[in-house]
């Protein structure tokens, strides 16, 4: 045991230890897989209503369930519970406010695009890419979650790739290329992290997990 302890580093290590389970990465990969499904359904001519009814629940419901159940049954029984101080709560609030603002910007752009045709084409694609990148950088910075920068780049790049394939290529695999490849990379990253986490932190027995 070392006495040479940097308190800020100690807090950061404690905080980031909860992201070493890879569950968020897996959930992010699931979101991308839902986008692959949506694109595939679009390519085979399924109506928008049916397509939305299938992929939106997969995109919105399944990823949080993976994170919640994973934390409850994998992370917490192995790592324990810690409640963080006001500094972390403040950063989380800033992150939520930032993400909501970015979503509002995106919504405004989509309205302008739909009503006035402003920001269509490459310009729209660049704005969406920058918006996604900004959102992920915000999460990565405020959560001290470095892998999120990589995930953000992979997510953001899928938008211009999709735009290009849609407009300049007639491949039916555009969804797999634009969203599927990053989804697989992110999910593999997540599963590797999860496997390492489970190996590093064995589940303690009932007798050894709490004070005597």
């Amino acid at each position: 045991m070392t006495q040479n302890i940097d308190m800020k580093d100690l807090e950061k290590k404690a905080w980031t230890s909860y992201f070493q389970d890879g569950l968020l990465d897996i959930a992010m990969g699931m979101i991308m897989l839902a986008a692959v499904l949506s694109s595939t359904l679009d390519a085979i001519g399924v109506s928008d209503e049916v397509r939305i009814a299938i992929y939106i629940p997969l995109m919105v419901v399944v990823p949080p369930i993976i994170v919640i159940l994973g934390k409850r049954h994998i992370t917490i029984p192995r790592l324990g519970v810690a409640k963080f101080g006001p500094h972390r709560k403040a950063r989380n609030r800033i992150m939520i406010a930032g993400l909501v603002s970015l979503q509002l910007i995106l919504l405004a752009m989509l309205i302008l695009q739909g009503v006035y045709g402003v920001g269509a084409g490459w310009l729209g694609s660049i704005i969406v890419t920058l918006n996604i990148l900004a959102a992920f950088c915000l999460i990565a910075y405020l959560l001290d979650y470095r892998r999120m920068y990589v995930i953000g780049i992979l997510f953001a790049m899928s938008e211009p790739v999709m735009f290009y394939l849609k407009n300049y290529s007639d491949t039916v695999y555009r969804g797999f290329i634009a969203y599927g490849i990053p989804a697989v990379i992110v999910m593999v990253m997540g599963f590797i992290m999860l496997q390492r986490f489970v190996q590093k932190y064995e589940k303690p027995t009932k007798e050894t997990s709490d004070a005597s």
Partner: protein, 108 residues
């Protein structure tokens, strides 16, 4: 037991809190200082201590009034949460100040 002369050379050493000065207890205090509260398993993981060791140091810190231990049941399993008391937080800050002072006063 240090010689009397040593203590005279480092006058602030006597002010160092012996409860916190023990490395295992220092680790518990440091881990609890940077967060709001944590359970027993979390502290075992972060400090690398065994259950018996952590329990024993936890009791000493509780007796000193530096930590608050709350025992309850979560899904019918016993669950122990620990947090620094106001006294513990002050004592840790004071310990840090004392240690800095000790080393500042070292003869060159």
């Amino acid at each position: 037991m240090p010689a009397r002369d040593d203590r005279e050379e480092l006058p602030s050493m006597g002010e160092v809190d012996r409860v916190i000065h023990e490395p295992a207890r220092f680790a518990i205090m440091a881990n609890l200082y940077v967060i709001e509260s944590a359970d027993f398993l979390y502290l075992m993981r972060q400090t690398g201590m065994t259950k018996g060791n952590l329990s024993s140091h936890m009791r000493k810190l509780e007796e000193a009034g530096y930590i608050e231990v709350v025992k309850d049941f979560v899904m019918r399993k016993p669950h122990t949460m620990l947090k620094l008391t106001k006294k513990g937080r002050t004592a840790f800050r004071e310990y840090s100040r004392s240690m800095k002072q000790v080393f500042n006063e070292l003869p060159s």
